[in-house]
């Protein structure tokens, strides 16, 4: 089976600093993977590399069958990355933001509507401008705008941050549902107890390197 993510001695430099210093990692389609590690370990850079947003300075990397050296554009269309920011335009309403990102990904009106419903972004909240949302509501709107992309690979950086209990449950069910539908989910989180419910494979990241056992487990 072709891996969803296949990294071999992958190096990514941020300036001169090797944020990833030779990562070997295999992730199978449909897997839920938790990246575990201290702040600054390289989790966020690893997620951004998989999204095609970081340059591969050395080594080899394939995501969803595309070579990250030559086909980053192809990768980007098929992944959803939730980082620390939400990617929402402050002056647009929740519906307008989700519609914009959805239409860019050729989502139908129904898919956009369904995503808003699923994230409970309806009624007055749907018409509220992003600048007036709470941090948790922004996060949910961000999720909705990613959901409409129908991604094959979810890359989630601290997906529960800033969410209340109800929203956290929604996110968990979304992640589970995505994995059940065949999507691959890679997430970085410090909330290990909550993540355990999703039964992920845990990959430890430290000093820009991945625990070699992670590769052995996947192959």
């Amino acid at each position: 089976m072709q891996q969803a993510v296949r990294l071999r001695a992958a190096v990514t430099l941020l300036g001169r600093f090797p944020a990833l210093a030779g990562v070997d990692l295999d992730i199978l389609p449909g897997e839920v993977v938790l990246l575990k590690g201290a702040n600054g370990a390289g989790k966020t850079t690893l997620l951004r590399l998989c999204a095609g947003l970081c340059v591969l300075s050395d080594g080899q990397a394939w995501v969803l069958g595309h070579d990250l050296n030559t086909q980053r554009q192809m990768v980007r269309r098929r992944v959803a990355l939730m980082g620390h920011s939400t990617g929402l335009y402050d002056e647009l309403s929740v519906t307008e933001n989700v519609s914009f990102w959805g239409r860019a990904a050729r989502a139908s009106h129904k898919e956009i509507h369904d995503a808003l419903e699923l994230l409970q972004l309806t009624g007055r909240l749907a018409r509220t401008r992003a600048r007036q949302l709470s941090a948790g509501q922004r996060r949910r709107a961000c999720f909705a705008s990613l959901l409409v992309r129908r991604p094959e690979l979810w890359l989630l950086d601290e997906p529960h941050a800033g969410l209340d209990q109800q929203s956290r449950d929604i996110v968990d069910s979304l992640v589970l549902s995505a994995a059940q539908d065949g999507a691959t989910v890679v997430m970085a989180s410090h909330e290990l107890e909550r993540i355990q419910k999703l039964q992920p494979r845990v990959v430890s990241v430290a000093g820009g390197m991945v625990d070699p056992k992670a590769v052995a487990h996947a192959s």
Binding site: A51, L53, R76, L81, G83, D90, E91, L92, A104
Partner: protein
């Protein structure tokens, strides 16, 4: 691709309409600049009429710096630049969409400033077609070059101060061509207005082509 172009145009214009930065800041700034020119040359009505086209375009150019800077600031806030890269929107479409959105704002600004020039500078329109054509193509030229250089400086520090330094020398042909065309349209000088309009068209075409080819690379660096 056209669908993506209009998607970006719609998004940018909707944001600008909601934020009202154009109405509350850029238009008042441009009107103040125009008024200051009028005060400075008030004692010499003949000079005011002669220099009206140049003063008009200097004002448009200064205001365009604000509009361009604002347009790129919106796309750098809260991770939207990354989202655009991941969105699937072709860089060419993103470029054309931004160019059209900025050009529309500049045309609206030009309409308001034209009224100001007619009232304050005591000029009359002799060639309406030339005036409209030069106004439209001049705005397009500024938007094309502004979008290209706006993307170039977006990824750099001190972009607010860097944009004017880089852009102003580049758009000198627009200033020259548009001013000459307006002089002819206002009948204040014997310039070959339509020929100067050709320069504006050429500028917009060359920078448009260059921008369409390089915008993707510039966005990667932003």
């Amino acid at each position: 691709m056209l669908r993506d172009v209009w998607l970006v145009v719609g998004k940018d214009l909707l944001i600008e309409m909601r934020a009202r930065v154009g109405i509350n800041q850029i238009v008042p700034f441009a009107v103040i600049v125009l008024l200051l020119f009028a005060f400075a040359l008030d004692t010499d009505q003949a000079a005011l009429r002669t220099y009206a086209p140049g003063l008009f375009w200097v004002t448009v150019l200064l205001a365009s710096l604000l509009a361009i800077g604002r347009s790129f600031a919106v796309d750098l806030a809260d991770g939207t630049s990354d989202r655009l890269l991941l969105s699937g929107i072709e860089p060419v479409a993103a470029f054309l969409g931004k160019v059209i959105a900025i050009a529309v704002q500049l045309v609206v600004l030009e309409l308001l400033l034209s009224l100001g020039v007619l009232l304050l500078f005591d000029v009359s329109v002799q060639r309406f077609g030339l005036l409209v054509s030069a106004g439209l193509v001049g705005a397009l030229g500024l938007a094309v070059a502004g979008t290209l250089y706006g993307a170039l400086v977006a990824g750099l520090g001190m972009r607010e101060s860097l944009l004017p330094v880089l852009l102003l020398p580049v758009v000198a042909p627009v200033m020259l061509g548009a001013t000459r065309a307006f002089q002819d349209a206002f009948g204040v000088a014997g310039a070959q207005g339509w020929a100067w309009l050709g320069l504006l068209v050429g500028f917009a075409a060359i920078y448009g082509l260059f921008g369409a080819l390089s915008y993707g690379t510039l966005l990667e660096e932003a």
